[in-house]
């Protein structure tokens, strides 16, 4: 990994953190619309994995992957405007928070709530690359909770039997909403869920952006070479509630404290400083920059119009 790549990763992680903190404060101030999802703790995964893709690769990120949307080129203004239901948002006010934030011109597939419906879609995108002999790879994120779903297994099986070039990243953040891993499943090692379908699987520290970037990158290249799908279980912790209104009183404080020590953003900044790649002042400057850009995104979003109700039925069908 070059210094430049690592610096870029740090920049995007800090940006993601700032963006998320801004969402929190907006909602606390009553300036939010509907609800939104907390991102804290997931930055190394969403940014590290997103960075590991090539420009023509396709990704289907989820609700904790603001970092990935950003890395892949989605304008923070459009994302913020979507959060606030504005016509300038990615979905023009049709879908909520990060839902539906797809854009084919950025090779991003938008998600629906029903988990993990994006996964077979990503597998299908990968199958289309094989169909057309294109040298592209698809990627999808899923939560630990989603590894229990039938569709997760059907999709891995389909990817395996089709040798589809798709990389699946599990964001194992210890909880599905309020339900801890032990109440979701009786298996401890999620890589067994790759083995069940003949999909190579590896578990990694999801709070270490270098590890995420390198592991995902390696599997992306393998997939591109024709080795088929891979499953990467990135272990992390959801550091806030499931969504903005969730008080997460069901999470033991000790668990949070423990993971706080391994905060992916701080840890990465410290590491790069220690390694002499940049200085604290540079980190502060990155943060200041991010804050300015996010403030601009908020201003843009809040000054954007709500969609015109006369457009209610526009766009249900393509080509009309």
């Amino acid at each position: 990994m070059s210094d430049a790549v690592r610096r870029t990763i740090l920049e995007w992680m800090i940006f993601t953190r700032v963006f998320d903190e801004r969402l929190e404060s907006l909602w606390k101030q009553g300036r939010g619309v509907g609800g939104t999802f907390n991102q804290r703790g997931h930055e190394a995964i969403s940014v590290g994995a997103g960075m590991a893709l090539g420009p023509d690769d396709v990704v289907a990120p989820l609700h904790r992957d603001v970092g990935c949307y950003l890395v892949r080129g989605m304008d923070p203004r459009r994302i913020m405007a979507n959060q606030l239901g504005r016509e300038t948002g990615v979905t023009g006010g049709r879908d909520a928070n990060l839902h539906g934030c797809g854009d084919l011109s950025l090779n991003i597939i938008g998600f629906v709530s029903h988990l993990p419906q994006s996964l077979p879609v990503a597998v299908g995108a990968a199958m289309s690359f094989t169909y057309r002999s294109e040298s592209r790879v698809a990627m999808n994120f899923v939560g630990d909770g989603s590894t229990n779903t039938g569709l997760f297994h059907e999709s891995l099986n389909l990817a395996a039997v089709q040798r589809a070039p798709v990389v699946v990243v599990v964001e194992n953040n210890q909880y599905a909403y309020s339900t801890p891993l032990a109440q979701q499943m009786a298996v401890e090692d999620l890589t067994a869920r790759g083995a069940a379908h003949g999909v190579p699987a590896v578990a990694i520290d999801g709070n270490d952006a270098d590890v995420v970037y390198e592991t995902v990158g390696a599997f992306v290249e393998k997939a591109r070479q024709g080795d088929g799908p891979a499953l990467i279980v990135a272990n992390t912790m959801r550091m806030r509630g499931h969504a903005i209104h969730d008080g997460y009183e069901y999470v033991p404080p000790e668990l949070l404290e423990q993971w706080e020590q391994r905060d992916p953003v701080d840890r990465y900044a410290r590491r790069l400083i220690e390694e002499g790649i940049l200085e604290q002042a540079a980190v502060d400057a990155i943060r200041a920059d991010a804050e300015a850009t996010v403030a601009d995104a908020v201003a843009y979003a809040e000054s954007s119009a709500f969609p015109d109700p006369a457009t209610l039925t526009d766009g249900v069908y393509a080509d009309e």
């Binding site: 049709r94 909520a96 909403y177 499931h242 969504a243 969609p307 109700p309």
Partner: protein, 336 residues
């Protein structure tokens, strides 16, 4: 995904009971009465007590055995509910949002709904499904999917609109020998209250309720839309508008509709679900078939637009009928 938008615990409501408390209360009462009754669903147990906290009061009293947390696998746990029901238990299965009921579709429409017809085994479960919108939750936390299940043989489907019915229909659903889907109206959860002194009585499934008597127009509706219809009726005033709350959309109490239309000669149907091939289509079709000579004017249907429920406030407001639109349509109908 479920964000529990705006539905955190709120201050106690004094002597009044909320719609949500009626659901919790009916569950607790039935669980006390009958050890076969239990609840299962995502996040219903533990310290959490469900995305809307409906089952929170149950955890302390009934423990893990009867408040069962499920992994996020709707198809499997509805199927498991069917197995438990076949063995004589009375599962009350919570969908985190009604929108996710489609994830369990086969387990409902193919297995549970058809079992008694095919081999005579009753499947006495209830699915509780927090439905409806108007609260800025977007396309996947606002759905009203009842029409799919009305069209499916073998199910019963109820949609309470009052605190008393929330209690009484849930009790009847639990005691029913058949699979019953109970759609809760999220917008009523904490907004609707009633002074309830004694335990509300069971409400028979399949009986509509005369929500407001009137002489000139029959408005047939259900769920949260009942309150919009009542507001519209009040705004028109007098005894012009008769409002019928279907309460049960399968079976439908068409006799009550017929009696009303025989009197008024005018029929308007309103619901939040997609108008196209919705429950209102069935009611209107019934009128076209059976009430032809009673009708003095065309039937009018108001319903959701044929689009995913949009998130942004102006779009969502345009999507749904409301008191204003019902009132306007009634006025127009009166002029026919």
């Amino acid at each position: 995904m479920s964000e529990n938008f705006g539905f955190t615990d709120e201050a106690e409501t004094g002597n009044a009971m909320t719609y949500l408390q009626a659901i919790s209360g009916a569950l607790a009462a039935e669980m006390r009465r009958d050890d076969r009754v239990f609840v299962m669903g995502e996040d219903v147990g533990g310290q959490f007590g469900g995305a809307f906290k409906v089952t929170k009061p149950l955890v302390a009293e009934f423990g893990d055995r009867r408040v069962m947390n499920m992994p996020m696998t709707e198809m499997a746990f509805v199927g498991a509910g069917t197995g438990m029901a076949l063995m004589g238990l009375r599962p009350v299965i919570e969908m985190q949002f009604a929108d996710f009921i489609s994830t369990a579709f086969d387990a409902i429409v193919q297995f549970a709904a058809t079992t008694h017809y095919r081999w005579g085994a009753p499947v006495p479960w209830v699915i509780r499904a927090p439905a409806d919108g108007g609260i800025r939750s977007g396309p996947f936390h606002s759905q009203n999917p009842e029409s799919w299940f009305v069209h499916t043989p073998g199910l019963k489907v109820v949609v309470p609109s009052t605190v008393e019915d929330a209690w009484g229909l849930l009790v009847s659903a639990i005691r029913d020998e058949n699979p019953v889907i109970y759609f809760e109206s999220k917008p009523l959860y904490r907004r609707l209250t009633a002074a309830v002194t004694a335990e509300p009585a069971p409400v028979a499934i399949g009986m509509a309720r005369l929500a407001r008597p009137g002489e000139a127009v029959t408005v047939v509706t259900y769920g949260a839309m009942v309150h919009e219809a009542l507001a519209a009726a009040d705004s028109i005033g007098g005894d012009v508008v008769e409002v019928i709350d279907l309460r049960s959309v399968k079976p439908l109490d068409l006799d009550t509709v017929a009696v009303s239309v025989a009197k008024t000669g005018r029929l308007l149907i309103a619901h939040a679900a997609n108008r196209l091939a919705g429950v209102g289509a069935e009611v209107a079709a019934f009128a076209a078939e059976e009430l032809f000579t009673d009708l003095d004017a065309p039937v009018v249907r108001l319903g959701g637009a044929d689009v995913p429920v949009p998130f942004s406030p102006p779009l969502e407001d345009a999507y749904r009928p409301d008191a204003g639109r019902i009132g306007a349509a009634v006025r127009e109908l009166l002029e026919f």
